[in-house]
Amino acid sequence: MIELSLPQLTTEVERLSLVIEIGGMPVRVHTIDLEFLNLLQNRYAGFVSDSDGADIEFDVELQEPKAVDPDADVEVGYRSGRWSLRRGDFLAEWEPATRHGWIRQTANPYSIDAVLRIVHTLVLAHQGGFLLHSASAIRNGKAFLFAGVSEAGKTTISRLAPPDVTLLTDEISYVRRQGDEYVAFGTPFTGELAKVGENVSAPISTLYLLAKGKENRIESITPGEATRSLLSNLLFFAKDEELVQAIFHSAFDFVSRVPVARLTFVPDARVWELIG
């Protein structure tokens, strides 16, 4: 009699995870791919937390690369208790009630970065905060935001920051309402400077609207102009009436509590003599 040994029918797959904590919100990411986990640990260095708990958990399912449309728009919608996030390079769902979701993407850091940004905008909008197209930095315990469209000078002013300035981001600022004030947090979301911000926070002192010019000067602007400029620089992806209303009113509240001014500057370090 020949004894046959059956192959093992099931194999236990090790489930790996790490917690990425941005703006005080821990998000746990599960994967079975060690290489991808290492990639995330490097990408989010400084924002990886040893927290046991998490506000949101995502299972990442890696797929083989396929042709994607790099110009495809982000689509974010809410239906049947779930947020659905879609772009050419990823598909994700997240259920707030269970705090759980999944992401389907290839093994790259950019797709999950976009998912995290979107999820943070949704949660922040609900809590009275927002992500803003702006550089931000801390000086003397106070945070300063520098908002503007591409080429307005966000990276330039970040690059010119003197050593006593702590850079939070050169591209996307994280703004959270805490009591009667607004607080800026560091983010790993980088622009041209490609330098991850410090994972610290401080109350926001001033929002500057950047403009390049022939001299350094700070000018006051009307509350209406401040609000319009703030709204035009907000990051928001969801076509959702409730959150659009929330973020609209947050912008007005922010302008009523935080000074907003126009900062015109020449690209050299002297501009920082006006700040802080």
Binding site: P223, G224, R228, E242, Q245, F248, H249, F252, V255
Partner: protein, 105 residues
Amino acid sequence: MSKLYVARNPRAAARSLDGEMMIMSSRDSTLFTLNKTATILWQSADGTTPLDEIVEKRICAEFEVAPTEALADAQTLARELAGHEILQISETPITTPKQPFGDKW
């Protein structure tokens, strides 16, 4: 000619700041800053006062403008704002109670 009624869309986000009325379409996030005439129209758009009455009593009373011309302009503006779902327009009075948002969280 039939009456036209206008009502503020309760889904639109609106705030007045230092006399400037700003409204954001919840559908496409387009931001509008209304001029004085449009602000009067928005504030008067209660759904039950006909547009011609708003024009006569509120707009013509405040600005030196011929009623016919003012009404034509107001109709154009109302239809434009309705296109962005900021205003609702109808040939009958509008009574749309604000529906609460569902609980997403």
